[in-house]
């Protein structure tokens, strides 16, 4: 008879509803990115100009800033999950694969942090 609790013997083995986490977050972000992506591209194309004053005025509008932050965060998460699968599929060898996965994750976190910081800095009037 095992002294392990039933919970301990299933945690991390996929049946504790962790197995679908990657899949679920990928879909959750995908669904959100349909309107966010269309909004971003349409906004970019309909801006009167891409000059400094036009862009920062646009970024400073309340909902633009909120949607831009959501877009950057959602896109970064979706991208990280997607690139992760590509690395897992095509990069062989535990060493290079782990190193690349760590690098990919860090790069996406940096992109997300920088994107949010940039939008907030402009929107809150902190840009020089």
């Amino acid at each position: 008879m095992s002294l392990r609790t039933p919970l301990a013997s299933v945690l991390g083995r996929g049946a504790a509803k962790e197995g679908v986490h990657h899949w679920w977050v990928q879909r959750l972000t995908a669904v959100a990115l349909v309107p966010l992506g269309i909004w971003f591209v349409v906004s970019l194309l309909s801006l009167p100009s891409l000059g400094y004053s036009a862009v920062t005025a646009w970024m400073s509008q309340g909902w633009t800033a909120v949607l831009l932050i959501l877009f950057v965060l959602t896109a970064a998460r979706h991208s990280q999950l997607g690139v992760r699968v590509v690395v897992e599929d095509y990069v062989h060898g535990a060493g290079p694969k782990t190193a690349l996965l760590v690098l990919v994750t860090y790069l996406h976190v940096i992109a997300a942090a920088a994107g949010v910081f940039a939008v907030l800095r402009v929107a809150l009037g902190g840009a020089p």
Binding site: V31, V41, L50, A75, V86, A114, G115, V119
Partner: protein
């Protein structure tokens, strides 16, 4: 350690050209959009760094190579969006029959081409020719 079993390789599947094409394109366009994310953050950071830094970024992004990159990103966005919606429909359990997925493959290719041409024309008229 004993050799562990591997999942079947590409060669065991009988892939009609459209299944292979749509699947590969979805991955490739996804990777290209990941690169586009870096460009987006660069642009946002430039705006946050003030008019001087932004003007510098603008002169970089105005190079013809970045115009080409932007056009490619529009194409890639159009495809990944349409192909992504196809995947979301599949996730509901619909459209998985062979004949249906064949039709949806061509719908995705057609819809993304139309979307891309529309966006590209809009971009050309409002930015490049203006």
């Amino acid at each position: 350690m004993a050799e562990r079993p591997l999942s079947p390789h590409l060669s065991v599947y009988r892939m009609h050209r459209y299944t292979l094409l749509t699947s590969m394109l979805n991955r490739i366009t996804g990777l290209a959009l990941a690169a586009g994310l870096i460009l987006l953050v660069y642009w946002l950071m430039a705006a946050a760094a003030g008019p001087g830094a932004y003007a510098q970024a603008e002169s970089v992004l105005a190079l013809w190579i970045f115009k080409a990159v932007f056009l490619v990103l529009l194409a890639v966005f159009s495809y990944h969006l349409c192909a992504g919606v196809r995947h979301l429909v599949w996730d509901t359990g619909r459209g998985l029959e062979r004949a249906q997925s064949r039709v949806s493959a061509y719908v995705v290719l057609g819809a993304s081409a139309v979307l891309f041409v529309g966006l590209a024309c809009w971009w050309l008229v409002s930015r490049v020719l203006a």
